[in-house]
């Protein structure tokens, strides 16, 4: 076992820049400590170890942020990121929710990753990513601090996403001037990508229009062990064992991975044929062991006649979008900005 670990570690280091390797390995090892075999999670230690940043109403690199309580009952917080205007910086609270002035302003509701158990909206890695999205898409970004597993299982994360969506949709100050409507996009990585799909489904069924879905390395799975899972198990930071643990922590007790939350186009899934569904941009990392499920997701959308663009980044590992030090990062950011088109 030790021998193959050595090989894995070296292979891994060959394909990512060293600082990326340090960052992701750090997460991997810390996360290993937090998952207990009995399915519980060392939440206090996790909160202690996570690098978090406060919101900042002073613009930094043209972006300022503030936190809002969206739902008192579930303590649902979100962090809002806005582009700073040329005018004076916000000195009072009223200024934070000043109406958007442009003809069309995309509002991106972002769901951070962490396999449903880790991270928060104020985790440093996600705060940084959301700030990037503001500048990239000239958008307002709303990062949802959804409830996490295993303390809160399915469907809590989706419920929180839906609550946030309704909140965003009903903010007059987020309405684009053109049509007095809020132009909503959903985006997320890993478990956040999974949440994007399910929240979009709820939204469309309830008559709220979502203009586009962005899924970065979305977390999907199934009972079957696919070829990519077997080939890449343990090779690039992620193991099947940890994937299984997270699904067991999120899905209702007794359910297996063919539950529709995990496998939306599987035996318990439903067809999206004929249903109005947002266009999707799905990014798949070529060294992610769950890629077969992600590709199956894209196929499922295509078969249902839905608009979907796949970005398959061959030599990318998980987390490549966290640091701007590789080509995959720049390619994907470019595509995202084109996807969130202002004149949509």
């Amino acid at each position: 076992m030790a021998r193959s670990n050595e090989v894995n570690l070296n292979e891994c280091k060959m394909v990512v820049p060293l600082n990326t390797w340090v960052l992701i390995s750090n997460f991997k090892l810390a996360y290993n400590l937090l998952r207990r075999p009995d399915g519980t999670f060392n939440r206090h230690l996790a909160e202690f170890l996570d690098r978090k940043v406060p919101a900042n109403a002073n613009p930094v690199d043209g972006v300022f942020s503030f936190d809002v309580l969206i739902d008192r009952g579930t303590s649902l917080l979100s962090r809002i990121y806005r582009p700073a205007t040329a005018e004076e910086p916000q000195l009072n609270v009223a200024g934070l929710e000043k109406p958007v002035t442009a003809e069309v302003v995309p509002v991106i509701i972002f769901f951070h990753g962490g396999s449903f158990a880790h991270s928060s909206a104020n985790s440093a890695i996600y705060d940084t990513l959301c700030r990037r999205l503001v500048g990239l898409c000239k958008a307002v970004v709303v990062s949802v601090n959804y409830r996490r597993a295993p303390e809160n299982r399915y469907p809590c994360a989706y419920d929180d996403g839906w609550t946030a969506l309704k909140w965003v949709n009903s903010r007059p100050w987020l309405q684009s001037q053109k049509d007095s409507k809020v132009h909503i996009y959903l985006a997320g990585d890993s478990s956040g990508g999974n949440i994007v799909h399910h929240v979009a489904l709820i939204a469309m069924e309830s008559g709220i229009d979502v203009l586009g879905n962005i899924l970065l390395n979305p977390m999907f799975g199934g009972q079957e062990r696919t070829e990519s899972e077997q080939r890449l198990d343990g090779k690039y930071f992620v193991t099947l064992r940890d994937r299984d643990w997270y699904w067991r922590a999120y899905l209702p007790e007794g359910e297996d991975r063919d539950h529709h939350a995990c496998n939306p186009f599987g035996p318990n899934g439903r067809s999206l044929e004929g249903i109005k569904f947002p266009k999707s941009l799905v990014v798949v990392a070529g060294l992610d062991l769950i890629q077969d499920w992600q590709l199956a997701y894209v196929d499922g959308l295509k078969k249902a006649g839905q608009e979907v663009k796949l970005l398959y980044m061959e030599q990318a590992t998980i987390g490549f979008y966290l640091l701007p030090n590789n080509n995959h990062f720049h390619t994907v950011m470019d595509e995202i900005s084109k996807f969130v088109v202002s004149d949509c």
């Binding site: 030790a2 670990n5 050595e6 570690l9 070296n10 280091k13 060959m14 394909v15 990512v16 820049p17 060293l18 600082n19 340090v22 960052l23 390995s25 750090n26 090892l29 290993n32 400590l33 937090l34 998952r35 207990r36 075999p37 060392n42 939440r43 206090h44 230690l45 909160e47 202690f48 996570d50 690098r51 978090k52 940043v53 406060p54 919101a55 900042n56 109403a57 002073n58 503030f66 936190d67 809002v68 309580l69 008192r72 303590s75 917080l77 910086p89 916000q90 609270v93 934070l96 928060s120 104020n122 440093a124 890695i125 940084t128 601090n145 064992r241 966290l322 640091l323 701007p324 030090n325």
Partner: protein
């Protein structure tokens, strides 16, 4: 946190070839390990990681990577079911807290997590204590009803105020939240809980490490939160270090002394009076009372309350008094010996 470069290079020596893995990993490093000049800031810190809360010198990156590999090796040889148990036995150090000595670095502990770089709970302690207060002046926060906000710490490299108190910082953090997310307060709670859990599981090494953090976190609080946290922290410290109060005087003696003191000085009586009033007002419509008294001693507050209740318009409510007292030497139950005058009057 800044790692002392001298320490690291002294102990991880690629060229010694003592470990064959070092060779292959250094080859791997030379292919991918080049750090671009533009990724470093003025201190040679990797900028990209710094933004994410991890302070690592670019020149140390390869060493840090190797430490992480070693750490993983150690973790990997642990039991098959995962290594969660290591978090119980693990001691988390902030390297800047450790005394400057080589012997510390040569610690053979299997569970050494010092390899994991990054700013821990706080930005590195400032050399100038005055700059703390001037930063606090600049920070404003709105609070409405506090809800359970983000558990957090600030790991942004903090703005460095110049030494003059009240000076305006160039880069100030106006942290305005529409709801007071009480970030550091929540983090404090998490740390207290984690420490208490550790103490309960008799994992004193982890509890000890955490209780040191509590001290730091408490210092950033004000008012009642600070007070409560301080008391809890003190209690945890006593539990961890097994410091139990030694009663120098015979407890019955102190009780009598206390009684005499209370008779002669009005302060406690006044406090009892106002407290009882508050209780009566708050429980105006209640018909059942259960009082749980910690450190009941002679229970002097309660007869007055009971009297007032007995005289209430709708007749006396049901009343129950539970006393919780400290363990007594000689196994006598001092509480049983407490009798109130006129106890018979209040049949409940």
């Amino acid at each position: 946190m800044k790692r002392d470069h001298r320490e690291i290079s002294g102990t991880t020596d690629y060229s010694s070839g003592s470990c064959s893995r070092a060779d292959s990993s250094s080859i791997g490093n030379s292919i991918k390990g080049k750090v671009r000049e533009e990724d470093q800031d003025a201190d040679g810190m990797d900028e990209l990681l710094a933004v994410l809360g991890y302070k690592v010198r670019s020149s140390d990156m390869a060493d840090v990577a190797q430490k992480l590999e070693m750490l993983e090796m150690v973790m990997g040889t642990a039991q098959e079911d995962g290594i969660y148990h290591l978090s119980s036995d693990t001691v988390h150090y902030i390297p800047s807290d450790l005394p400057e000595s080589n012997s510390v670095f040569n610690d053979d502990s299997e569970y050494d997590l010092r390899a994991i770089p990054g700013v821990a709970a706080y930005p590195p302690p400032k050399s100038d204590p005055d700059s703390e207060s001037s930063q606090k002046l600049v920070k404003t926060s709105m609070s409405s009803s506090g809800s359970d906000g983000y558990g957090s710490s600030s790991s942004f490299p903090s703005p460095q105020a110049n030494g003059i108190p009240g000076a305006v910082t160039e880069f100030s953090t106006l942290s305005v939240v529409l709801v007071d997310s009480q970030e550091s307060g929540v983090r404090l709670v998490h740390t207290l809980m984690a420490c208490a859990e550790a103490a309960q599981q008799d994992n004193l090494k982890l509890a000890d490490a955490l209780v040191k953090h509590i001290g730091l976190l408490t210092a950033s609080q004000t008012g009642s939160m600070r007070k409560v946290a301080t008391y809890f922290a003190e209690a945890l410290v006593r539990r961890i270090y097994r410091i139990f109060p030694q009663d120098s005087l015979d407890p019955s003696c102190t009780d009598i002394l206390q009684m005499h003191f209370n008779e002669t000085c009005p302060y406690l009586k006044f406090a009892h009076f106002t407290t009882n009033q508050a209780i009566l007002e708050a429980f105006a419509t209640a018909n059942r009372f259960h009082v749980i008294g910690f450190r009941l001693k002679q229970g002097m507050q309660w007869p007055a309350l009971m009297q007032a209740l007995a005289l209430s318009p709708g007749g006396p409510p049901a009343f129950r008094l539970t006393g919780i007292g400290p363990p007594q030497p000689g196994n006598t139950d001092a509480l049983h010996q407490v009798r109130w005058n006129g106890n018979n009057r209040h049949r409940v």
